[in-house]
Chain length 329, copies 4
């Protein structure tokens, strides 16, 4: 997130906070940095404060661990902040919008109720794999309606954070489970594709059947997706829906928005994580190998860069939309 | 196959044949051998003959490439041989049994018709991924009936043969397609789980929805499987069906039969290819992470050693059953 | 170690000890077990005691972490135990033998001095990479004398223990450092190839220049080795020295001793870790690609299974030699 | 090479040639393209001609396979072309300069003799691993003199071209040999670091001892390097020599020249191929873990992006220097 905000046209990092353990160190010293480039110079020297403290910035980004996010985010919301969070804790709260700007920007309208109640508000982005699912489902849902979705994910090592998965578990191997992940995929996509009406979220009603795997890939979650439509729809029509899908005008011009939210491959062997995860600077979700199935309307492969579009980039894009829509005051 | 037949109590390799290019070389010289141990001494010195020639052995094993298998196997069947084949060409022929001894040994009865028509007969084993699917489906099909199966495979590198997939395509990557593979999975499992009655095969009627991926794993195809039953059935009952599944007595005592055709893991993160592929000397299929789903009756992970149970070992086991049932003599 | 001792003809595990944290649990519950097979049944139910306590067994195996090994092993030595240790702490002590049974079994004679001084004695095995170096150097040292050794290691993930190296650090990557490892390689091989005379160890005098790397391999440390001889010696003569190398008769018949300590490959592209690490049930060190060099007498590749011959198997083999030589009383 | 020349300020691709098999196809159709981006639009539609034909461009780039490069390059040199070649065939020819612009640009003066004799001239770049060796050796050679170099390479999969190394050979494995590679490393670095005087190349006299390995890494050759200096020199002084090393002014401003030819890491665990190969858009060679050794003056790790600085980028940089120095007429 720090890297994505470097040189941002609208936002500047003024405060960084962490646990008591890192407090009072310089960020450059406290952070366990695993990216190719060094942390930005101006952030490196910022003194890390304790998350338990107070902040001046109206907009906060939360990449807190789920074990502490619920409490800290709740407290900061009451302190009047607008918080873009990547933590899972509040995603399914009945008053917290779970937003992909290209898909359900209108869910942000729910913020007013939060502000009225707490003073501040939380805006969540979805789980990394969910973003790779919900983005391509959006144009299908609009055009054909969706009755049932099955997805199996092949998730990258970086999705588990650092140090994450031991190499002894992932060399020449697959781990057919990621604790808690299936439940997120089965619920979050439905909230994103649902409606915000009469002051409440109405989740999409189609069931999502998910099965998750960890594979020896560094970045990029690959999803095999099967979709049963409500109405008729061929693979060729699905490809057209993907190709014609675009973000609302207000979203298209956000600094972190990719030119096209979806890249569509006609090749049967694409997208592939190593070759395609960086499309649109990691903000484009790729789909390909769209084809017929004996039972479903269509099946295809989807790919999302899990640490960019699936995490930090998603939070930044949400913040940009909040700023552009005037929610930051 | 040569390795699996080394020291076999019933069979001895007397003839080896290949294309014109390898003919007249010693096997040890002609074979491109990629296993840890060397070829068995007595086979190493056998002179390779041309597949176009004649053979003395009543039983033949075919590991021919699909581009030539149809013709050669057809000719050898007319020459009166009983041929256990791993090639895909004749698997779905209306008179060729596609057999997993633990699942549908009674399909061998169809051989008589072939013998009557051609003099000899072909017995096929299924595609490697199919065996990892059909074996665990068998006890579910018997106990609950099956209405719909969805499976996504994470297939190992060795499934493509040697040299197969370039390392440049598989390091830090997934390839979301294997040409021709989905069609096999969608048809072969239904033939295996179907009935042989009134001299004809009646495929199981449930549709199979498949999506396949190549992952950076050496051996062992992992499958995420979702099953809709015809009748009620819980994950716990499915586990019991897996655990109680056993081969018919005649099959259990075949030299290559594993003690149990299915190993059942209660852990959510098993089976894993590197840790579990060698169970039962590679002949046991593992299942685990059996659980509920919002829409299907049950979902689980299955694992098959693709070059042993999924290929050579399958052919040898079929041959052993043929021998035991008296078809060889 | 527990796995290697399962069914051992001479030894039986009667006591298992660990830190206070694991004490009073059953071993099967306390151990974080990462091997394919389950822990042996009789060990699984042993109650883990605290390393700070007392033991009944005359022979102890220590796989303690270096952070605590010095103290605990010292105390147990004073309590009269004979301790075969894989920890690095005491390896270079002037009174502790560092033994590879095939290479320097006579170093065990130093035990008497330890016993006299402490009541018990420590016997160390070398660092995993060192065993892959010292074993092939032994026949060269005897036949040609050694003036200088250069070695670069490509070490496997499992050498770091579990959880060890994060997969995020090892996918599509090499880490050109392992803290503390080079110093061990540069000193331990010289002690092993040195003499025990007049009650003291006299290390071999040739310098060892080492550089270490971690590579994306599960098991098996590969070493590129360059050797300058004291006298003339060709690659072909080095190969003969490797081939003719054998353990003393007393060692050859130890239960864990491989048939041959060294396997010699004539192929230029062997040994390879995945294909050759399991030779001799992981107790054989492989060498190959033995060839000339513009400056050194010879260069070659060596391979050792780091968790078997390079750790647990080494300790067990040392214990077997102690038993056979009557040191266990 | 085609990708690196896209949008080049000085050069434009006007002709593309290949074997008879590809001739008369459009480049976009004939090329087996394995990079993330598509081929540049203007090149995609160029008709591929036969290498046996004639060319209009004064400057040619050759990425020919060694099996055909000798003949074709010889013929084109006689036809008056200036040819920047990545093929190995003519590198060690007594009249062909082997150039790294930052290291030995003066070797280009040898071209005049070639032109006088043949009409045209060949300019070679070194083998990919050699460039990762010779670049960091250059400042050490100048400052301290070099008596002996030992290097062990850990080379990436892409160094073998496509399809190259089968994934079955590289998953969980190391291959301790690359045919022909050691000889190149042992000779080419000495030519590059030698002098061009009195119309002839005088190779540096220090021996290079090399051992090569293929590792499961996509891009980036890692080298462990040991150097014995002629004079005194500490690791700290070597680091300073690395840090102070810069290209001649004329080279520094070439379009493809990186800001600094060498990046120096103070960390012991860097450079690492995945993290550091792209420095300087793949044109910077990284060194790190510079330290003392029991016998050598210094040892360190070097890293080169094998397909950019080690191949195509090297040829383009050579061509830029030729153009800037007026050799293109």
């Amino acid at each position: 997130m720090v890297q994505l905000l470097e040189g941002h046209p609208w936002f500047r990092i003024r405060e960084v906070a962490a646990s008591e353990r890192s407090a009072r160190k310089a960020y450059g010293e406290a952070a366990s940095w695993h990216l190719a480039n060094d942390p930005p110079v101006d952030v490196r020297s910022l003194e890390v404060t304790d998350c338990a403290g107070r902040f001046e910035s109206p907009l906060l980004f939360s990449a807190l661990d789920a074990s502490v996010a619920a409490d800290i985010e709740g407290r900061l919301r009451k302190a009047g902040h607008l918080i873009c969070t990547n933590a899972r804790n509040h995603r399914m709260d009945p008053d917290v919008p779970l937003v992909i700007p290209e898909v359900n920007p209108e869910h942000l309208r729910s913020i007013d109720r939060q502000k009225a109640e707490y003073g501040g508000a939380l805006v969540a982005n979805a789980n990394c794999a969910v973003i790779g699912l919900a983005l391509p489902l959006a144009p299908l849902h609009r055009r054909f309606g969706i009755r049932h979705v099955v997805t199996v994910s092949l998730q990258a090592s970086s999705g588990a954070g650092y140090p994450g998965v031991p190499s002894m578990d992932l060399i020449d191997n697959v781990i057919p489970n990621i604790p808690g992940e299936e439940a997120k995929i089965q619920t979050e996509a439905r909230k994103i594709l649902g409606r915000f009406e009469d002051g409440a979220f109405h989740d999409a009603t189609f069931p999502v059947s998910a099965s998750v795997n960890r594979v020896p890939v560094l970045d990029g979650h690959t999803l095999s997706v099967f979709v049963q439509f409500d109405s008729e729809g061929t693979p060729e029509e699905a490809i057209r829906a993907f190709e014609e899908f675009e973000a609302p005008a207000a979203v298209r011009e956000l600094p972190s928005a990719p030119k096209r939210p979806l890249a569509v491959f006609r090749e049967a062997d694409r997208p592939q994580p190593r070759r395609d995860r960086d499309l649109g600077r990691g903000m484009t979700v790729s789909v390909g190998n769209v084809r017929a199935d004996p039972r479903f309307s269509v099946k295809f492969t989807s790919l999302v860069h899990n640490t960019i579009r699936g995490a930090a980039g998603a939070a930044v894009l949400n913040a940009e939309l909040l700023y552009r829509e005037g929610y930051l005051g």
